[in-house]
């Protein structure tokens, strides 16, 4: 089982990097987060049940590690990165501007919406898997992705339907919080 565990872990690393970037919005912090999560997973591998959802188990470890780090570093500087794709040499100047604008808008999304959007769009995860990985209901996962899309549309197309869409969850109305602080609160309440 150990060999299969390690093989699955290596295969999952690109997706973990994307999830870490969704959470941190910073490349260096994302790399650190993945490394820490991998160390945690290796230490806890005996608690993983073979045949169950390894990706969801690993995503939860990374998420919990992020929350734990947030608790310790609440006041550290939050430096956002734009992905290298925003500077693609093959794209026209106008296309690069649009992609940069999109990158900045994505970074402005509430963290749970950005995380769910990345999982569905970039990692091809089902809503069920997103729900399992983030500890929410399937309907909440769908709502987060929907709201992320509509918020980005509102920002990028200049349609101001933003107030509704920016709410972190349809089922749990609350004011938009620009930071990741509500993830900490979620974890504390769990």
């Amino acid at each position: 089982m150990s060999s299969a565990f390690h093989a699955e872990l290596v295969a999952l690393l690109p997706r973990l990097r994307i999830q870490a970037l969704a959470l941190t919005r910073n490349r260096a912090a994302a790399e650190d987060l993945v490394q820490d999560a991998v160390a945690n997973a290796l230490a806890a591998q005996d608690s993983f049940t073979p045949g169950t959802n390894f990706a969801a188990w690993m995503h939860r470890i990374l998420r919990n590690r992020f929350i734990s780090t947030l608790r310790k570093q609440r006041d550290t500087t939050d430096i956002e990165d734009l992905p290298a794709g925003a500077f693609a040499v093959g794209a026209t100047h106008e296309d690069r501007l649009v992609l940069k604008e999109l990158g900045r808008a994505v970074n402005k999304l509430p963290v749970d919406q950005r995380e769910a959007l990345f999982m569905v769009v970039l990692q091809g995860m089902s809503y069920e898997d997103v729900a399992a990985a983030t500890g929410c209901a399937v309907g909440t996962a769908k709502s987060r992705v929907f709201r992320a899309r509509r918020q980005l549309q509102a920002w990028l197309m200049g349609e101001d339907r933003a107030g509704e869409a920016a709410r972190p969850d349809a089922a749990q109305p609350e004011k938009r919080r620009p930071s990741s602080s509500h993830l900490v609160e979620e974890a504390r309440d769990a």
């Binding site: 997706r15 990097r17 994307i18 970037l21 992905p83 794709g85 794209a91 769009v121």
Partner: protein, 68 residues
Amino acid sequence: MHDNAKQNRDDPPPSPPGEGATQPNAAEAAFDLWLNRSLHQLYDGVAAEPVPPELLRLIETDRGRRGK
């Protein structure tokens, strides 16, 4: 998982849809399509980057230790 990734990397990033879509649902669908492709343009490169050697070493060391 990345069925669309190669296609998305190869395609130039389109401009956001706007003028053509008149109905809200059509506009949303067009935007969602553009958004999916553009997110792949932005972030697929991040996923494709090589894994840091020290991270692979960490995993391999643990695999070797447990294999004994």
